[in-house]
């Protein structure tokens, strides 16, 4: 029912509405206006609220009314007519008569398309009326025609056109009065409401912050415990395993025969792999919990690419693979964590070198690109604005992947062919970490591949933002 609020009477701040005149207009001011009107035009003025409450009354007792009230029939006839005037709620101005031949103008006060009240102008005798109405003399047998005529003579006489002008004038003044009062009323209501809303917002934020702070403290504790446990409990024995197998390999505990040496080397290699896997798992869990700290700096893409290429040159040379670096000039700086962005590129280049056969080539390129964010269509015209970016591409002439697999390669532990882990090594976590790291930087990663022709990964990272 929140949006279908049925009118309950009273001021509705959300619509800035008024239902009754007296909700906003000061009665004293209204009385003053009516009084000055009465003095200026010698015409009685009464203002009623929409529910019929008399708000202002400036009138003078007419002698004809006083005389009529001395008789029973006259009093009754007058009361009936005057009641009809008071009860009238017309939607447009009307003129109502009474037994004396005098008339009243009943004019609705319309504000914002709604009748909030009405005013009654009169009684007055139409200037055009010449004779005493017969019905008046017949109202009661005790009425004396001479006295009736005398009393009627003191009633104000007004031309119809004049009465209309006076009514229009009063309507204009009342409209202005309602408007000004309404504005003043809304202003004060808004002052109060704004302060209250501002306070509510602040209190809510404070309590949310406090709750978040408490929870963070708790999480921080949990996280520290977990990481400490994992790194200590898993890594410590593993380090020993690796260390002792290394020593065995080095012959510190005596010479090994060929078979023993092979076994020990396998333990050593697998130990290293396990250590890498634990490290990757730690990375992944940090990324998934959102506790991986990304500390962006303004980075030069060219420097970054050269740096990564240098690291893999020896490995590439060993496999007789051509490692080609192609950086477009004048690239914008990107805003990224240097350690993490190197991890992204290293992982991709390492894979490329790994899956490219002897004599092939790997290209590491950086080009200017454009990004558009705000994907859900809502307000796209405002939000999906192009942004400068840098696209890092790693292309190889390796074994490639079937197109059906491409959507799954970023899943954790997924490898196109389960056997490749055994054949080529690796944890199956690399690409899923790369994907999450790219996401954490607000970037995108795309892959294109054809079986037997090679694979191309493109990582697009946005330009560094200026200022804080």
């Amino acid at each position: 029912m929140s949006d279908l609020a049925l009118k309950s009477g009273g001021l509705d701040l959300s619509l800035g509405d008024i239902v009754r005149l007296d909700e906003v207009v000061d009665r004293e001011a209204l009385r003053d206006v009516c009084r000055s009107f009465f003095e200026l035009f010698n015409l009685s003025v009464r203002v009623f609220s929409a529910d019929g409450t008399l708000l202002a009354d400036a009138h003078e007792e007419q002698s004809i009314h006083a005389y009529l009230r001395t008789t029973q029939g006259g009093e009754r006839a007058l009361r009936e007519d005057q009641d009809a005037v008071i009860r009238a709620t017309p939607s447009a101005p009307v003129q109502l008569g009474e037994i004396t031949g005098a008339v009243y103008d009943v004019v609705p006060i319309v504000y914002h398309g709604r009748r909030v009240g009405r005013f009654v102008l009169g009684p007055y005798l139409p200037a055009e009326m010449k004779e005493v109405p017969k019905a008046l003399l017949k109202a009661d047998p005790a009425l004396e025609p001479e006295k009736v005529r005398d009393a009627l003579a003191s009633m104000p006489r007004v031309r119809r056109a004049t009465a209309e002008r006076v009514a229009a004038h009063l309507r204009g003044i009342l409209d202005l009065l309602v408007f000004s009062s309404h504005r003043a009323h809304l202003t004060s209501e808004m002052h109060v409401a704004s302060v209250r809303e501002g306070y509510r917002e602040l209190a809510e934020k404070t309590s949310k912050l406090q709750a978040a702070y408490d929870r963070l403290k708790e999480l921080d504790q949990l996280k520290s415990n977990f990481l400490a446990t994992v790194s200590h409990e898993l890594r410590t024995p593993l380090t020993s395993i690796i260390g002792y197998s290394e020593m065995l390999e080095a012959g510190i505990a005596g010479d090994l025969n060929e078979e023993q040496f092979d076994f020990v080397r396998t333990i050593h290699t697998k130990g290293d792999q396990l250590l890498a896997l634990i490290t990757s798992l730690l990375d992944l869990s940090k990324l998934e919990q959102g506790v991986m700290r990304i500390e962006p700096e303004q980075l030069d893409p060219a420097e970054l690419v050269t740096d990564v290429a240098k690291t893999f040159e020896p490995a590439a040379r060993k496999k007789e693979i051509d490692l080609i670096v192609a950086v477009a000039p004048g690239l914008p700086r990107i805003g990224a964590d240097p350690v993490r962005v190197k991890q992204i590129l290293s992982n991709l280049v390492e894979n490329a070198v790994k899956f490219t056969p002897k004599g092939g080539h790997v290209v590491l390129a950086a080009n200017e690109a454009e990004m558009e964010d705000g994907a859900d269509g809502l307000g796209a015209v405002l939000l999906a604005l192009p942004r400068r970016a840098v696209a890092f591409a790693v292309r190889d002439s390796g074994i490639g992947m079937p197109s059906g697999e491409l959507s799954r390669i970023f899943d954790a532990f997924y490898q196109v062919d389960g056997s490749s882990t055994r054949e080529h090594g690796g944890t199956g976590l690399g690409l899923s970490i790369v994907k999450r790291l790219v996401d954490a930087h607000g970037g995108t990663i795309d892959v294109q591949s054809a079986l037997g022709e090679g694979t191309s990964f493109t990582v697009t990272l946005p330009e560094a933002e200026d200022g804080p």
Partner: protein, 223 residues
């Protein structure tokens, strides 16, 4: 929306939202100037400082529907300045439709985005779903230098769902079109929700054509 069955009166609240100085008040002033006095009431400006709205502006428009139904549109603006967020949220309360007035100047892109996101947030705070809420977007100040080209706007507009209007509110261009677009969207939304045709015999097509006819001439006159 407010329905008064006894008085046969429907009140619809439309809010003009947008960043500071994008021309929300100017839109209302233009409508007030262009629409006949028997339809538009007095434009109320609540508290301003240096020409900046502090609370809101309010323009009432009244249309008589068929069968003696009074349809009242209340047009509100919000204060655009960032610090008046509490007031913006209050004004947005119970809004039936919103016109987002964006500044076309490229330099104002970020201000537009921030105001739009702020609007979505405030709609949610008021328990209004921004996804289904009737919304039109107006790119105002098309006559200034350093604005996005029409082609670019059209291309970007196609990515979104909401109707996009171009305007020069100071000259009254595009203002009536924006209002009519918003009214159309809002009324059809309300019809689907409250079956006004069934309850009041108010046919949406007939009523909207009526509103268009009453205001359409004003729009043409401004061109």
């Amino acid at each position: 929306m407010q329905i008064d069955f006894k008085a046969r009166e429907i009140t619809v609240k439309l809010v003009y939202y947008g960043p500071a100085l994008s021309g929300k008040t100017t839109n209302l002033q233009a409508i007030h100037k262009l629409v006949a006095a028997d339809t538009a009431g007095r434009l109320m400006t609540l508290e301003t400082r240096d020409d900046r709205t502090l609370f809101f502006d309010l323009l009432p428009l009244t249309f008589a529907g068929s069968g003696g139904i009074q349809v009242r549109f209340k047009l509100f603006t919000v204060p655009g300045q960032v610090i008046h967020n509490a007031t913006r949220r209050l004004v947005l309360q119970g809004a039936d439709g919103t016109a987002f007035i964006a500044d076309s100047q490229i330099a104002e892109t970020r201000a537009n985005q921030q105001a739009f996101l702020n609007m979505q947030e405030n709609l949610k705070e008021n328990a209004i779903d921004p996804v289904t809420h009737p919304l039109v977007i107006q790119f105002n100040k098309r006559d200034l230098p350093g604005v996005r080209t029409d082609e670019e706007l059209d291309r970007l507009a196609q990515k979104g769902r909401e109707p996009v209007y171009k305007a020069v509110a100071l000259r009254g261009t595009g203002v009536i079109e924006t209002f009519l677009g918003l009214t159309d969207l809002t009324w059809r939304h309300l019809e689907a929700k409250h079956q006004l045709k069934e309850k009041f015999g108010l046919d949406p097509d007939v009523f909207l054509a009526d509103v268009r006819e009453r205001l359409g001439l004003c729009g043409e006159a401004a061109q």
